[in-house]
């Protein structure tokens, strides 16, 4: 699925990723953990093609295709989805309008027919129920006046609606209380499937109690410095990142 090899990336001339290598096969969930400033968010932006992130070496492929050569919307059409750490507010654009426009743009790019209005609404009602989102909220301008928790839930709702193949969750647990965390995690887990893969970026082990990873990686100093099974997350929770930060 996703293959990152020896990736170097810089922001405003400062190198943040310094030779990152990582493979996430289809059907697996990988967690990326690491101290502040390790390059976790940079990784998510580089993978999704945000402006201002310069690739200075290495490469990344999605199903063998050069991902980094594509525009952000082309990556989205190929199924790359980022659940933002800080979702943006879109004044005047109802959430449903935004999502339907996005879904149809993706479908058009893939040469698929657009979704009809009734089919879209049916899908939206179904996913909203799953994530315990009040349907009326979807008629309001996207994220405007939403609480931090509501915004995160809206990210997962968008993810469920767009049905991506490669999911990146950037600090999805921040700002969520324990009930919201459970609902969001259930939404994410519902998307686990043999043809999908996920990259879960988190600072704390807590989220991984709900979204069980197949592999855990430690990102420090712009590189993966350790990899292991779920037990690695528990170890980090207990001992902290100090050891790895020094190693980097």
């Amino acid at each position: 699925m996703l293959s990152i090899s020896n990736l170097h990336a810089a922001v405003e001339g400062k190198e943040i990723l310094k030779g990152l290598t990582l493979d996430v096969p289809a059907g697996e969930v990988h967690a990326i953990m690491g101290p502040n400033g390790a390059g976790k968010s940079t990784l998510s932006y580089v993978l999704t093609g945000r402006q201002g992130y310069e690739i200075t070496g290495g490469g990344t492929t999605l199903d063998g295709e050069d991902l980094l050569a594509l525009e952000p919307n082309e990556r989205a059409a190929r199924g790359v989805f980022l659940s933002f750490q800080y979702p943006l507010e879109i004044p005047g654009v109802p959430a449903l309008t935004f999502i339907r426009t996005a879904l149809n743009a993706q479908k058009k790019a893939r040469g698929e027919p657009e979704i009809t209005a009734p089919a879209f609404l049916k899908l939206a009602r179904e996913k909203a129920a799953l994530l315990k989102i009040d349907f009326d909220m979807l008629k309001r301008a996207l994220n405007v006046g939403f609480s931090g928790g509501e915004k995160k839930r809206m990210e997962i709702f968008q993810m469920a609606m767009l049905s991506p193949r490669f999911l990146i969750l950037d600090e999805t647990d921040s700002g969520l209380d324990i009930d919201a965390l459970r609902i969001v995690s259930e939404g994410v887990n519902a998307l686990r499937s043999p043809d999908r893969a996920m990259l879960v970026i988190t600072h704390y082990q807590r989220l991984l109690d709900y979204i069980k990873p197949d592999r855990v990686h430690v990102l420090a100093g712009g590189r993966i410095v350790a990899s292991g099974g779920p037990e690695l997350a528990l170890e980090l929770e207990r001992d902290g990142y100090d050891r790895y930060a020094r190693a980097a």
């Binding site: 093609g49 525009e71 919307n73 943006l88 004044p91 743009a105």
Partner: protein, 489 residues
């Protein structure tokens, strides 16, 4: 959401300014230049009565003594008023005629612009779809007005101004110049002297006009100005919704459009006036050409509880100088102003409104959305005033500016004068830049950059778009998209 999709497809299939074509139509011109003889020429061409000619000549005398205003935040070289044609009309005889007599080339122009001039074409649409009557003004004259008979059955007069002067002189004499006095300002005064045509509407007491009325203005001739004059009177307890649309060919020289629109509402009457202005904006790189849109629009809410609502979508013209205003004279009368002004390339807009509260308990509401892109400049200028008798006057103003790119400018110039202690005015203003974070967010979800800009801009202008009649809201949304094409990147 369907509209957004449509917008996107529409944009992809269009050139920058799709109305830029010129039509080769045989025309009558007045000799170039401006003097009292030209004024007489225009009046004679239209078979006008002596009182009308006298009115024009008086205006011309006053205009000679006036100076061009220079307070607006716009820059342009001095206009040579002698270097223009003040009358251009398709070569045909004056007077009312059936559609079959109209030059087929002109009909072709309107067909190209998508304006239905054949009543059966409008009727042939989807059942239950709103119908609208059209007055088509081509350069200096009205070429056809549709649905006149049906409107006459309920007593609504909808015709060209020239016809109104001939057929309804008592109404014209009573109301013409009663809202915008002859010497109100330089451009209005010029218009009074040389105005050629425009629309006239009278809605009798208690009548709700059964369809939307609209006028479609087209400048075609080279080196000519368009000076139309519109007068709408809504008598007691009546209602009318009116829309004007404007386009012009792409030309290298600037053309002057100095219109005057007067609205009068009696007790409990309401006029909803919408404008979709898409004059040629000039070359986006050099700024060459384009229309100077210097327009005076004013409503007089004479009657108690009367109401006027101005909605404008201003996307064209190289320079826009325009302040649709309401004089809230009647007790409890109300005025609204909803505006979307978009400037791109080298366009300059100085636009806004005036809400003059004269009567007690009058209310006004202003929602202005300015979008600046390219190297353009966009100014909101608005006056809200309450006179000593306007106790209990209320105004709410919201002015939002959106900047796209780094070389454009937005200005907000509000004037507020309260001359009694019992008025309540609220003013809110925001200026935001279309953020790269928002663009990236939308693109991450699958939208291309252009689609993302359109979606965000549509969200920004939504409050105003929803004030337009449904049919035109879709058009306006497309227009917004086209105007901002290529504004990012």
């Amino acid at each position: 959401m369907a509209a957004v999709k449509q917008t996107v497809e529409h944009v992809a299939s269009l050139e920058k300014y799709k109305h830029g074509f010129v039509s080769d139509i045989e025309q009558d011109f007045a000799p170039k230049g401006l003097n009292a003889d030209i004024v007489r020429f225009i009046s004679a061409k239209k078979d006008e009565p002596q009182w009308m000619l006298d009115w024009r000549l008086d205006a011309f005398e006053r205009w000679l003594a006036m100076d061009e205003p220079d307070w607006a935040k716009v820059n342009f070289p001095r206009i040579d008023y002698q270097d223009s044609y003040y009358y251009a009309a398709p070569k045909e005889k004056v007077g009312p005629k059936s559609l079959d007599e109209v030059d087929p080339d002109i009909l072709e122009v309107y067909k190209k612009l998508g304006i239905p001039l054949r009543e059966q074409e409008v009727l042939a649409g989807v059942e239950g779809a709103p119908r609208y009557a059209v007055d088509a003004v081509f350069d200096s004259v009205s070429v056809v007005t549709t649905f006149k008979k049906e409107l006459a059955q309920v007593g609504v007069i909808f015709c060209s101004m020239s016809e109104a002067i001939r057929e309804h002189p008592e109404l014209v004499k009573q109301y013409l110049g009663s809202v915008v006095p002859v010497s109100d300002n330089y451009f209005a005064c010029l218009n009074a002297a040389v105005f050629s045509d425009g629309s006239f509407v009278y809605v009798p007491p208690g009548v709700r006009c059964p369809m939307e009325l609209s006028t479609y203005f087209r400048i075609n001739a080279e080196n000519s100005g368009q000076f139309e004059r519109t007068l709408i009177i809504a008598d007691k307890g009546s209602y009318v919704s009116y829309l004007e649309g404007c386009t012009a060919p792409m030309r290298d020289e600037n053309q002057l459009h100095a219109a005057v629109v007067e609205l009068v509402t009696m007790d409990d009457a309401e006029i909803k006036y919408s404008t979709v202005q898409n004059w040629y904006p000039g070359d986006p790189e050099t700024g060459k050409g384009g229309i100077y849109n210097f327009v005076t629009k004013r409503a007089d809410c004479r009657g108690d509880r009367s109401k006027v609502s101005w909605t404008q979508v201003e996307t064209g013209s190289s320079i826009t100088w325009k302040y649709p205003s309401c004089i809230l004279r009647g007790e409890g009368s109300s005025g609204e102003f909803y505006s979307i002004a978009i400037t791109n390339g080298r366009q300059q807009a100085d636009t806004g409104t005036k809400m003059i509260h004269l009567g007690a308990n009058t209310r006004s509401r202003i929602i202005s959305k300015g979008i600046s892109a390219g190297k353009s400049s966009n100014t909101y200028r608005g006056l809200v005033s309450a006179h000593p008798k306007a106790k209990g006057a209320r105004n709410f103003t919201q002015c939002d500016s959106l900047l796209i790119g780094k070389h454009c400018a937005a200005h907000t110039v509000p004037y507020i004068e309260a001359r009694n202690g019992q008025s309540k005015f609220e003013h809110e203003a925001t200026t935001t830049r279309l953020s790269e974070d928002q663009l990236f967010y939308a693109m991450q979800r699958g939208l291309s950059q252009e689609e993302a800009v359109q979606l965000l801009v549509n969200g920004f202008v939504k409050d105003v778009l929803q004030e337009l009649p449904m049919e035109f809201a879709v058009e306006a949304q497309k227009l917004v998209a086209i105007s901002l094409e290529g504004s990012v990147g």
